[in-house]
Symmetry: C2
Subunit: 478 residues, 2 copies
């Protein structure tokens, strides 16, 4: 009988080669696979199921706040795409273009959607005519294509899955409120579902979305010290609306343009989960997003009574509403332990002849590798409680790491030290783009955001000596 734990030497150690460790988990935990289409990945059942949990959470939140799902065409005529100049120039270099349909050359070439602002605007122009038609709060779940040269699973791909919200409002104030409200929803998603803490803030002019007036962001911190932009919300003003002729009759009877927002998160969030929580044994999933929350593994399964006892545990856990699996396959317990560790299942339940004899069950927690033994009759209650405990433990660990990696800096030397340590360098900035560029060029670090907390701590910007007006977080980033 082999029930000793086998170390997962199947993957590279995180400390040895962070990038390879990450890719190993993506593959070995069966989250994704490569396809024969360069840069396009296959979202395998286990990876897709995590995305479905994210979808469920967000769909509920979106619908509670009055948003409705729609579906727009997967391709955009080039002529339509070219209507908003700033937007076009941001996306044109990475478009995938269809030129042949039904065996004939197309007059107006079709771009596989990289984002759908223009389609939403075109539609809104048709369905909005009065203040009574506002707000329009639409969202779309789909995939988008961006022809990226270098790709990494979930983090940067030629195709990724996302949701894109596009809303139209009567007033600027309403639209601005929406932009910030959806950022809060994303922040909640991180805290409540993914156990990933975010820093919220506004993007600088240089870093904002092509065509937006203002862009807000949630930034996560990876254990290699790099920031990961995890979601953005944009306030557009009425620029797109004017370019696409969206107008409505206001309460005063006058024709005017509505104010617009868009916002999105993508399967990039899977990358955040993998990196923030994973370890040398593979994936570590926060319970609320885990496709399998608990796995029951019979030990010495051929001994009489073991399989029936394991099935009883499974049934009992299943009834609580937990997502449970039982593995009755003829693999060794050691193999199974490794397998579900690799897959990051939050809780493993072991039951063997001795446990049955003693009326106990062994529970192994994936997040901190601790084991506890509980009385048979306390299992269900314990596991349900553990889901909460583990979530909190994982969130707090990530949050402590984040707090520990925001360093206030006053000089360029301190900036270098902070970037060397990893994480965010919090610095006062003069709002001059040239000074932002200087950091990017000399340190390969970008302005991640101007955080909501703008308590000033310096009078001048360390780079140029000019008056410092904004608190900015600089970091290396994905």
């Amino acid at each position: 009988m082999d029930n000793k734990q086998i170390k997962n030497d199947a993957i590279t150690r995180r400390s040895e080669d962070f990038a390879q460790w990450y890719t190993d988990i993506c593959k070995k935990a069966e989250l994704m696979d490569y396809s024969s289409v360069k840069g396009f990945i296959i979202y395998r059942p286990y990876g897709y199921a995590i995305w479905e949990e994210i979808q469920n959470y967000l769909n509920k939140r979106f619908k509670e706040s009055g948003h409705q799902n729609v579906y727009m065409p997967t391709v955009i005529p080039e002529s339509l795409f070219n209507k908003e100049k700033e937007h076009v120039s941001g996306f044109a270099p990475e478009t995938l273009i269809c030129t042949i349909g039904g065996q004939s050359e197309l007059d107006d070439r079709l771009i596989v959607r990289p984002t759908s602002e223009v389609l939403f605007c075109e539609h809104y122009a048709k369905v909005i005519s009065s203040y009574r038609d506002l707000p329009k709060l639409y969202n779309q779940w789909c995939s988008v294509v961006r022809w990226e040269k270098t790709t990494r699973p979930f983090l940067r791909g030629a195709e990724f899955l996302w949701q894109e919200g596009h809303t139209m409002h009567e007033t600027e104030e309403e639209a601005r409120t929406e932009t910030l409200k959806m950022l809060e929803v994303y922040d909640d998603l991180g805290r409540d579902l993914l156990a990933v803490p975010f820093i919220k803030g506004r993007k600088t002019e240089k870093e904002k979305f092509a065509g937006a007036v203002e862009t807000y962001t949630i930034e996560a911190l990876m254990p290699d010290g790099k920031a990961l932009q995890s979601g953005t919300t944009h306030y557009f003003g009425d620029g797109f609306a004017k370019a696409f002729g969206v107008q409505f009759q206001g309460r005063d009877g006058k024709l005017t343009s509505p104010h617009q927002t868009s916002w999105g998160v993508s399967t990039r969030l899977l990358g955040a989960i993998i990196m923030v929580h994973g370890d040398d044994n593979g994936l570590v999933l926060p319970p609320r997003v885990a496709p399998i929350q608990a796995v029951v593994i019979p030990v010495a399964a051929n001994r009489p009574g073991v399989i029936p006892a394991a099935r009883e545990l499974y049934d009992e856990l299943n009834k609580t509403g937990l997502r449970v699996k039982i593995d009755e396959s003829d693999r060794s317990p050691g193999w199974k332990f490794s397998e579900y560790e690799m897959k990051g299942v939050p809780v493993r339940i072991e039951i063997g002849p001795r446990d049955i004899e003693n009326g106990v069950v062994t529970i192994a927690k994936r997040n901190d590798s601790t084991k506890i033994q509980v009385k048979r009759e306390e299992l269900a209650k314990t596991v349900v409680e553990l889901m909460e405990t583990i979530h909190q433990e994982m969130y707090e660990k990530a949050y402590r790491y984040l707090l520990d990696h925001v360093t206030e800096v006053h000089t360029l030397e301190e900036l270098d030290a902070a970037l060397e340590k990893g994480g965010y360098a919090k610095m006062m900035w003069c709002e001059d783009e040239a000074c932002e560029d200087f950091i990017k060029k000399t340190r390969a670090a970008t302005a991640r955001c101007m955080p909501f907390n703008q308590t000033k701590f310096d009078e001048v910007y360390p780079v140029c000596g000019k008056k410092a007006t904004k608190v900015v977080l600089f970091a290396k980033a994905y």
Copy 2:
């Protein structure tokens, strides 16, 4: 006060111009809109919400039977697509092809997926190696593109939403069982959710899917007498598996090819719902699939107490779990009555000063235009029960129509009479494709299926006088 019902003269009468009536409902009930991409439609919130109810039902059924969702690339390399000859020739004429990516010409052109058999096969070849890896029961929710010349909303479009199941099995028997099991799931969907009865059967060789060994179908009947193929399941044998090198080591240690199925339903089902149940006042939705199941309309809303009373009803209904809406807008009750009739909301609840005085509420049923008055305190219970009653009434009405339009025919004259009446002509057939072609060419009717009930009623095929071996249903079809 205007609470008289206004007739929806906004749409063409069904008896006048069936096709125009259908398109009018699609637009006026706000199910879809046209986009600037020819043949591609916009699935508007109300239409998309119906699709989401279908997704919820099927996802539950799929997962209960062990299926897992995945996501495959949205484009397929032409070289990969060309691997299975029969399949290619079926789809090549209507493909949309990308030739430019990231501003450079592509070496291997990319086809926007018309269906994903080849991608699934390529992936299966990588992840299947032992009988232990079987069965693989994958499903994908996505859109597919087929460059159709003439399009109609939901029925035939350049892009539609669907699910495509692709499974691999150890044995032929298992795969054949899966093919029939999923057909049953589709049949249940029609009966239990859409209130649309289907005829189940096998497609003839001529009508089966490109590359399949056998195709099964669910066929619905529209009120213009035409059949609508509403979903299909395919048994592939091991043809694709061999073409793509999918192999596994069997229990006997030998390498062998797995047996494959695929199956799908699409947003075409929305077309079936519209046509089967709709009337001259617009859409009529079966309650279980209706995005709004009941709407509360205050009558004489400016009178004291009306709005609070209406809100009370709304809250009460909401608590039962029904999908309820209250319309407090400043439109007239007559306008609102028309609006929610057009949108096919199963139940309308009217409450005005007199109702409040008398402690009653008026309920109007959309499906048969009857009104009932109930005591205030019986409202919630009544509406919940009505959901079941209405579903049954709608299903039975459609079922009676279907039964009434299956005509057993023994001669070509009877065939003509049956097609003239509309619906299915049930005929004995010799299984000669030439004889099937003859009906298609001379009557523009196709063999819809060989129904599961094969009780023979004739010895010879009326067309050629040869021995008749199969019962076939011929009909004109969408």
